[in-house]
């Protein structure tokens, strides 16, 4: 009986995008971002309290660039996918956060940001955060 073929990196990426409602390809991890843009997107996501999956692209940077170039015609990181679609990189996420669109895309309520907010006492508990994904090569 023949060995099943090792899924390609592209297969694995497609599976991740399919299996995770909110998926962030980033440099580093949410606990230790390795790039300012990635850190910004993490901070933005955290402010919505959503659960998201994070993949550190640094261990396979060039191959992942090629995969996402093929899948989404986009090869810089970070990349935020929601419901299987590329939302954008740090700039777009930031713009949508400022315009109020991001809440809708993430499927959550717009968090209160103003100082007079009644929700000033934000719960200190961490959002249910999945551990960072490791891709084996």
């Amino acid at each position: 009986m023949t060995e099943p073929t090792e899924p390609s990196l592209k297969d694995k990426v497609e599976e991740l995008i399919r299996d995770n409602r909110i998926l962030l390809f980033m440099k580093g991890t949410p606990e230790q971002p390795q790039c300012g843009f990635s850190m910004r997107v993490v901070n933005t996501l955290e402010s919505y309290g959503v659960e998201y999956a994070a993949l550190d692209v640094l261990p396979a940077l060039q191959p992942l660039r090629e995969v996402t170039a093929e899948l989404s015609d986009w090869q810089t990181f970070p990349q935020l996918y929601v419901n299987g679609e590329l939302v954008g990189g740090a700039d777009i996420v930031n713009e949508m956060d400022e315009s109020g669109e991001l809440a809708g895309v993430l499927g959550v309520e717009q968090p209160e940001r103003s100082a007079q907010s009644a929700k000033q006492e934000l719960q200190a508990d961490d959002p249910q955060q999945s551990p960072p994904i490791q891709i084996e090569r």
Binding site: G36, F37, D73, W74, T76, L86, V87, G88, G89, A90, D91, I92, E95, M96
Partner: protein, 78 residues
């Protein structure tokens, strides 16, 4: 190898005729740039599509490492 703001601006303008382009250096090291682009070609396009057009204009400079990071803000003319 650093790249001048002018060069980036010219590349974007060449790729998007009629666009208003402004490029500034965010960190003073000439490799973290910010481009603001208003182009008629953006009309009707999603933000992602608009950003892709700008990135394509400077792709060669990403590839050769002259641009380390480029943040982009796009809009279509009113």
């Amino acid at each position: 190898m650093a790249i001048s703001n002018d060069e980036v601006r010219l590349m974007i303008e060449a790729s998007l005729p009629g666009a208003q382009v402004e490029v500034v250096d965010e960190t003073g090291t000439q490799d973290h740039l910010h481009a603001t682009v208003k182009a008629p070609q953006f009309d009707g396009l999603s933000r992602i599509e608009q950003h892709k057009l700008v990135k394509k204009a400077v792709q060669t400079r990403f590839d050769d490492g002259s641009i380390h990071a480029l943040s982009i803000k796009t809009s279509a003319p009113e």
